[in-house]
Symmetry: C2
Subunit: 298 residues, 2 copies
Amino acid sequence: MSDDPFVFGLDLGGTRLKAVVATPDGTELARRTVLTGGDDWQEQVKQAIDALRAELGEPAAIGVAAPGLPAADRRSIAHMPGRLPGLEGWNWGEALGAIHDVPVMNDAQAALLGEIWQGAAKGEENVILLTLGTGVGGAAMVDGNILRGHLSRAGHFGHITVNSRGPVDDFQTPGSLELALGNFSLGQRSGGKFSATSDLVAAMAAGDLLANEIWERMMTDLGAGVTSLINVLDPAVVVIGGGIAEAGETLFEPLRARLDEFEWRPQGAAVRLARAELGDWAGALGAARSALLSLSSS
Amino acid sequence: MSDDPFVFGLDLGGTRLKAVVATPDGTELARRTVLTGGDDWQEQVKQAIDALRAELGEPAAIGVAAPGLPAADRRSIAHMPGRLPGLEGWNWGEALGAIHDVPVMNDAQAALLGEIWQGAAKGEENVILLTLGTGVGGAAMVDGNILRGHLSRAGHFGHITVNSRGPVDDFQTPGSLELALGNFSLGQRSGGKFSATSDLVAAMAAGDLLANEIWERMMTDLGAGVTSLINVLDPAVVVIGGGIAEAGETLFEPLRARLDEFEWRPQGAAVRLARAELGDWAGALGAARSALLSLSSS
């Protein structure tokens, strides 16, 4: 048991729950990962939280990050078809028997809040996060506010067009950034030669010309997409995360070169490009941060 | 002289100043248009405001809309190369001898605020405005806040990519929405056959097949661009203004058809498309609204 106030930050994924216990100054008291696969994931989540309570005591607040679109009242996820049965409409605060309202955020929006609290964009007020993995996702903070929007879908950066004549993606976006970059479409983009972007990067390092050509095309699409987002959202910092960002300078060097070509830099001001720092824990930390913010606003 | 409180909303363009005098409930007491061409535009602006004061009395506040990027303190335009010499850094409040601080906004951001106050998106909290004219511009309100961003450039919707392999525009954006739609590039896009979009629309009505083909291509690029903005900003309403929007249903019908194809509609929710209602006065009205908001926040 701790005498200092602390909060729980929960990040629900498809197969596991990540929980972080943190104090207002950002000190982490605990991290837990609990497998929550199967249809009884809600029961597993409740048990995991009860175990944390038994160990550490009652938190001052709880915050939640989960996939899908949060409801307008931010107490549940309103829209998440296909996965995690029972998530839609599940009121986390009631289910967990929380003392205070439990804010529920989209996972990408939580990850951005985490990176701003503890990671690559500490203290910034204008930041976008782009996650490049199986698909492409993201979130934005503008003028100090995390953008939610009418249906809480702001920041779906995978679903911007980079080629209006291209085929539509799963969200109906023509020639989307996700189709151009996401790992899921690499097989198609490489004529079946590669199925993982990490293999593509390795082949390129070994001198494979096709791999190099595919990568350069990806970097042009990424550079154009980031340019669009800069001109729409005007960030000071663009944070890049997700599995594909593990390519490191192999990604950042050509991306910087594209921005040298494409970026509008009024009076010479260039956006800072940064690699995400918190990895898989960004969402849980962001959820903890949102719990802390809910305390100070109540 | 009026006994009720009222504000001045000023909208500075390249050759004229529009001024509106309005009360908190939106009643307009006067509209004025003053030519301000030439290098002594600042003197002409000051004289116009003094004349308004002599006629109506001292306003409770003044708000300004102007082209370019406002400074962080919102007292001047910080960045506006090429036109309106002397605008950069000109402190409107000091120059006009105002009692209160004079908020200075970007003209597109002011036009959006005007449409939300009095026009096509009354009372909405999630709206984007897209202006289609010589160039393409815009602004966004998300979660009740007009987006400004790090350099006040948020909402430059003309400079999003719709074709990452295309040539760059004046802002270095590859294959931008502005290149695809702006009147200035129509000559190029039509092999010199058309120089005004209104002529293109007239030719199409008369059965010109090339005109029709160019227009359909524009509508696909516009549909893709609006789709991108929906997925990034999540508006409830998309307002379309500018000279090209005067095509009316000739534009809105194919645009709606593109959105039927491209728009992500979680649980069936479609964005409302609306034509701008305030025309050339949107900026002045938005400036008046920002003056009123500055009163209630001070």
